[in-house]
Structure formats: C-alpha cells, structure tokens
C-alpha cells in the first residue's frame, strides 16, 4: 500500500531493466517479463554447507611444515598438535635445517648456532631444546640416527617427529 503511494514510484529511481520498460516500453516485441526471480534459498544452503565443511577443516596453526611432492609422512593416531620449532628435514638423502641444506658434519654446529641465536635474542630465558624431524615414512633408522645423535650433541632433548594424523 505504502509502496504504491510512494513518491519513488513516480521517479526514475528504479532498476535499469525496470526503468527501460517504463520509459521505452516494447510491448509489441516482448510479451514476457524480462526480470526473472532466482531461487536463492538453494544457493544459500549450498554455501552454508561449504562454509561448515571448510570451518571443520580449518586450522588456526596454518602450514608449519611443507611436505615435498615425493615425501610421505608416517601416520599416527595419537599425535600432538604441531608447534613452530626448528625443523630438520631429510629429503632425497640430503639434510635441511630450516630449509637450508647442511652437511652431516656441520649439523651440530648449525644447531648450536640456532641455540646461540635464541639465547642472544631472549636473554635470561632457558632454551627449550625442541627439534622437529621431518622425513619420509620409508626412511631407515640409520639415516634418522645421525640427526638424533646430532640433536643430542647440541643439547636438543625434546625431539618431535612429524606425522600425519590418522
């Protein structure tokens, strides 16, 4: 009722299609109305399901580890949540510390360097000594052993193996 008596009804403040139909009516050419109603409820349902699914798989920690193309992590069901710590990665027989390639001999020195950096930037704090090891599930223990030994030599007592959650 109000809408039909409104001043706006007489003005040109309408949609482009509506205005065209009022100003230049083409009754002879178009008999059907051009403006069609879209059924938006189904679209909103689909969007809501997508949002719920994505929220369920959302992780606030983000991508802490980048897994290479040929690398498969071992699976475990009772794994702890990932935290940001120095990462040693074993990939194609090479060792990477924080994505920088290091040799087996220089690994202890590099780990000690990390420890020194932390103590300089956090004076008075105790070094947590946590090291993350990321390797392929088919690795043999003799390859892992050299990293575990290097970590022990550098005083990293807390070792965390990266695993895929089952």
């Amino acid at each position: 009722m109000l809408a039909s008596q409104s001043v706006l009804q007489d003005t040109a403040l309408q949609s482009a299609l509506g205005a065209q139909s009022v100003l230049q009516p083409k009754y002879g050419k178009w008999k059907r109305t051009i403006v069609a109603d879209l059924l938006l409820t189904a679209l909103i349902d689909a969007f809501s399901i997508l949002v719920i699914f994505l929220l369920m798989s959302f992780s606030s920690a983000g991508d802490i580890l980048l897994v290479g193309k040929g690398q498969e992590l071992p699976k475990a069901s009772l794994a702890s949540t990932l935290e940001r710590n120095p990462v040693v990665k074993l990939e194609e027989g090479k060792i990477y510390l924080e994505n920088q390639e290091v040799s087996q001999d220089s690994l202890v020195g590099a780990l000690l360097g990390l420890r020194k950096q932390f103590l300089e930037s956090h004076p008075g704090e105790e070094y947590p000594g946590i090291l993350m090891i990321q390797g392929d599930r088919r690795l043999k223990y003799d390859q892992l052993n050299q990293i575990i030994l290097a970590a022990s030599h550098a005083g990293f007592s807390d070792i965390r193996f990266a695993v895929l959650m089952k």
């Binding site: 409820t41 949002v51 959302f58 983000g62 580890l65 069901s77 695993v163």
Partner: protein, 151 residues
C-alpha cells in the same frame, strides 16, 4: 478486538547473506590446510644428570629385531612377573605384530600401572614408519614417556 491488516509473510533480503557466505568461503579456501600434520614427541637423555640423582622409575626396553620381532625387557619394576618382563614377540609378515603388542602392553601395565616410560632400540634397517607405529601403540596403552635409543 482489533484486527491486524499487516501481512505476516515478508521477504528477507538474501543478497547480503550470499555476499557474506562468499567472502567466508573465499577466506576459508585460501587458508585451508588439507594435510593435518601432528608430532610424535620423544624425550631424549642428554646426560645432564648423574645416575645417582636420577629417580628410579619402571622402564620398558623394546628391542626391534629382524622380521618385526620385538624383545621386551622391563627394568626397575618388581611388580611385573619375569615371564612378562623378558618376552619375545615374533613379527607378522615381516612387520611388528601390533595387535599382540597391544595385548602384551595391556598385561604389563595392568601389573604395574606406574610404568609410563619406554625406550625403543631400533636396528639400522628398521623403518621410520615402523618406529612411529610402535610409539603410537605405546601411547594408546598409556606409556607416554617415550625415547629412542641411538645406534
């Protein structure tokens, strides 16, 4: 009695809802993590304490042998009977028999509930996957303080 002439049915403007949901979907798709990575935590001794200072706790040593064979050795516990304290568990299809391992661990922890520490001694040729599988099984049975002995 006064009658209401207003219509009860009305239309909600759905366009802002669609806008909001689209923005949400774009944000979640961009920040989605498809691989759920966790960590298996292991405490390694770095030799900071003398043996005299170390508190004697029940300890389970597990030696990984050829073909998935596991050898158990419970130390510093008088509650676990000898038959369980020194036990050999044969492998299954060249891998550790995790089902049997779960049974043995249940029996050992039932005898000594204070047993929370286990040390795994793999061989040079033991696979990383197998070691993690063992650790996972230990954690399931309540043995949470785990360590891996170097070669």
């Amino acid at each position: 009695m006064r009658r209401h002439n207003k219509h009860l049915d009305f239309e909600i403007n759905l366009i802002p809802c669609i806008d909001l949901l689209s923005v949400c979907i774009c944000f979640l798709l961009l920040t989605a993590v498809w691989l759920h990575i966790g960590s298996m935590n292991v405490k390694q001794a770095v030799g900071g304490q003398s043996q005299a200072e170390t508190v004697k706790k029940p300890l389970l040593w597990v030696y990984m042998g050829q073909g998935g064979q596991l050898t158990f050795n419970v130390q510093q516990s008088s509650l676990v009977p000898k038959a369980l304290a020194n036990l050999k568990l044969p492998g299954l299809n060249g891998q550790a028999n995790l089902a049997e391992l779960a049974k043995v661990l249940t029996q050992i922890t039932a005898k000594d509930p204070g047993l929370k520490t286990a040390l795994i001694q793999p061989q040079a040729q033991s696979s990383y996957e197998e070691i993690i599988g063992l650790m996972d099984e230990f954690k399931k049975q309540g043995v949470t303080d785990l360590g891996v002995a170097p070669l």
